[in-house]
Symmetry: C2
Subunit: 333 residues, 2 copies
DNA sequence: GCAAGCGTGGCGACGATTCGCGATGTTGCA
DNA sequence: TGCAACATCGCGAATCGTCGCCACGCTTGC
C-alpha cells in the first residue's frame, strides 16, 4: 500500500509537503499542490490513520460501553451517539457489556490500550475506583443516564425521581388508587430513583405504599410479563401498572390481551424511556420520554471539552428533564 | 504515560525483553519476567495498541456497516457480531449508514484509512466497483444478509425466496386465499427475493397473483401501519397479511386492534426476521426466523480466513436456511 | 574443547507530523 | 539601480511506541 513517501517521490517533493497538502497545515503553491494531488490519485493513496494517531497522540475514536444494544432503548442511544460522533469525524467502538462488571472492566482495559480519546459509559457496575486511573491518564469519561459516581467525572442524567413521580401522578389523576409497579434491575440508581418518585407521588396523593404491589423485573420484556401476571393474580389486583421501562410495559400489555382486559378501562399501563416503538403499540403506550438525541449531544460536548482541555477541573453533571407522554394506554376517552 | 522503554529501564532489561514478556513470544527467565511485571505494575504501564498496530500491521478492529441500529433486527445483528468479535479479541467500529449510499461510502473511506482488518457490511447501495479497491488492498469484506455482489467477496445470506415461500405456504395451509403483502425497501435484493417466494407459493397453490394485494413499505413500523390500512380498505380485503419484516407486521397488528379485528380469526399476520420482540407481542407474532447468532459466527470466520490468508481465491457464499416460526397470530385454535 | 541451546540486547523499521532551516522571489527605500 | 528585509514555500531529520531480526555470551553435555 502506498505511503506518504511514495507520493512524495512520485510528485518530486518531500513528505513534509505532502503532509501539508493533506492537512492544510501550511500554504502550498498551487502547482505543487496539484502535482501532489495527482500523485496521490495515481497511487490510490490512503493516509494511514494508525501512524497519524501514533504521532499526534489522538485517535478520533471514542468508546461506548452499554449493557445491551439489543434492547431498543440502548439501540436508540447507540444510534444517537454514533450520529453525533460521526458528524464530528469521530468513530465509536461498540462495547456490549451484557450487564456484566467483569466485561465492563475488560472493555475499560482494552479501550485504554487502544488510546481512545474518550469514553461514554452506561454502566451497571463501574465505580469510582475503576475510572480513577483513566482520569489520571487524561482519558475523559462521561456517564450517561446512570451514574453512581457523581462528582468524579462528567455525567448527563435525567431526573428519574421526577419522571417516575410524573408517571405515577398521571395514573392517580386518571382515578387509579391501586397502582402496581414492575421494578427494573435493582442494583442501579436508575431503578431506586424511579421507586422514590413512585413513592413520593403516592404519599402526595395520600395513598398507602403497599409492598405487595411491587414486583421485581430486569428491564426486559419477559420480566414485565411475569410481573404483570403476578400483580393481576393478587387478591386485590391493581387497576394500573407502572413498568419501569417500556419493554416491561410491553410484556404487561401482552398479559392484558391474554386475559382479555380492556386497556386502559380495566387496566391502565405506563412505561418509561419513550422508545419510538411505544407509539406503534396497540393501544399506543403512555410513557416518560428521555430526550436521548439532546442527551447524546450534551454527552459528546462534555467529552470534547475535556479532550481539548477546556473544561473546569471539577466534574459537571447535566440534568435533563424527562417528559410525560400520555397516550391511549392510560387515557380514558 | 509510561512506555515500554520506561518499563525496560526500571526493570533493568531491554525493550525487546519487555515486549517478549508482554506477548509471550519467546522464553524469558522467571526472575527477569517477575522484574518486568513488577516494573509494569509500578508504572501502571498500558501497552500502546496504536504503536503496536503500526508495527505489526494489524488493528484487531473490524468495521460494521449497517443501515440503522435502532431497528431491532439490526440491533440484534450488531449484538451478535460484537459478541463473536470481542470473544476473539477484536473490536468493532459501529457505522450507521442511515440507508444512505453516500454515508456508506464515507464510512468505507474512513475504515480504510483506519486500517481495520476487515469489514462486515449490510449495505443498501454498495456495489462491485465500490469494494474492488478494498479487496485489492487486501481488506476483506463480508456481505451480511443482503448481497448484490455475489462472486466478488464472501457473503453469508439466507434463502429469502425459501423463507417467504414458507411463510406464504403456511398462510395458505391455514385456509387463506387472499393474502396481502407489505413489501420492504424495494431496491434491495432481500425484498425482491421475498416477493419471488410469495409468488411462488401462490402459484403452487393455484392462487392468482393480484397486484392490488401488494403495498409498499420500508421495513419500519409506520409503513406497516399504512400498508395494512390500505389493504384492509380494499373492496375485497385480504384475510391474511404477510409483512416482509417483523416491524411492519407490528404496525399491521396495531391496525387490527384499531379496527377490532380478532387476530388470527379475522386477520392472520406473519412477519419476517424473528426478532426476539415478536415473542412478546399480543398475540405472539408468527415469523420466519433468521439464525443471526450462527450467521454472525460464520461471517466472522469467513473474515478471519481472509485476514489470515487461508482462504481460497474465489469468493464464498454461505447460505443459511430460515426457519418458519408459527405462533398465535396465524394459528387458529 | 566444542557444538548446541538458551536467554538477552541493539537497532532499524512501521508511516506519519512538525520544527527549524534555507533557498528562492518580492518589495521598499536610499 | 542596488541591496536589505521579508514573505513564501520546500526540505531534512527527529520523533511517536512497539516489534522482530540478528548477534552475542553463557551454560551444559558429551
Amino acid at each position: 500500500m502506498a505511503t506518504i513517501r511514495d507520493v512524495a517521490l512520485l510528485a518530486g517533493v518531500s513528505t513534509a509537503t505532502v503532509s501539508h497538502v493533506l492537512n492544510n497545515t501550511r500554504t502550498v503553491s498551487e502547482v505543487t499542490r496539484d502535482r501532489v494531488v495527482a500523485a496521490m490519485e495515481a497511487l490510490g493513496y490512503q493516509p494511514n490513520a494508525v501512524a497519524r494517531s501514533l504521532r499526534v497522540n489522538e485517535t478520533l475514536t471514542i468508546g461506548l460501553i452499554l449493557p445491551d444494544v439489543e434492547l431498543p432503548f440502548f439501540a436508540w442511544v447507540a444510534k444517537c451517539i454514533e450520529k453525533v460522533a460521526s458528524d464530528l469525524g469521530y468513530n465509536i467502538i461498540l462495547c456490549n457489556s451484557g450487564w456484566s462488571l467483569s466485561r465492563e472492566l475488560r472493555y475499560l482495559e482494552n479501550l485504554q490500550t487502544r488510546r481512545v480519546d474518550g469514553l461514554i459509559c452506561i454502566s451497571v457496575g463501574l465505580t469510582n475506583e475503576h475510572v480513577a486511573p483513566l482520569l489520571r491518564r487524561h482519558m475523559p469519561v462521561v456517564w450517561f443516564e446512570e451514574a453512581r459516581i457523581e462528582g468524579v467525572s462528567d455525567a448527563v442524567l435525567i431526573d428519574n425521581v421526577r419522571g417516575a413521580y410524573e408517571a405515577t401522578r398521571h395514573l392517580v389523576a386518571q382515578g387509579h388508587r391501586r397502582i402496581g409497579c414492575i421494578l427494573g434491575y435493582t442494583p442501579t440508581v436508575v431503578t431506586s430513583d424511579r421507586l422514590l418518585g413512585y413513592q413520593h407521588a403516592l404519599r402526595e396523593a395520600g395513598l398507602p405504599f403497599d409492598r405487595t404491589l411491587l414486583c421485581s423485573g430486569d428491564y426486559e420484556a419477559p420480566s414485565g410479563l411475569r410481573g404483570a401476571r403476578q400483580l393481576l393474580d393478587l387478591a386485590e389486583p391493581p387497576t394500573a401498572i407502572f413498568a419501569f421501562n417500556d419493554m416491561m410495559a410491553l410484556g404487561a400489555l401482552q398479559v392484558a390481551h391474554e386475559r382479555h382486559l380492556r386497556v386502559p378501562d380495566q387496566l391502565a399501563l405506563i412505561g418509561f424511556d419513550g422508545i419510538p416503538l411505544t407509539e406503534f403499540m396497540s393501544p399506543s403506550l403512555s410513557t416518560v420520554r428521555q430526550p436521548i438525541p439532546e442527551m447524546s449531544r450534551i454527552a459528546f460536548d462534555l467529552l470534547l471539552d475535556r479532550i481539548h482541555d477546556r473544561a473546569p477541573n471539577e466534574s459537571r453533571t447535566v440534568r435533563v428533564e424527562p417528559v410525560l407522554v400520555p397516550r391511549a394506554s392510560t387515557l380514558l376517552v
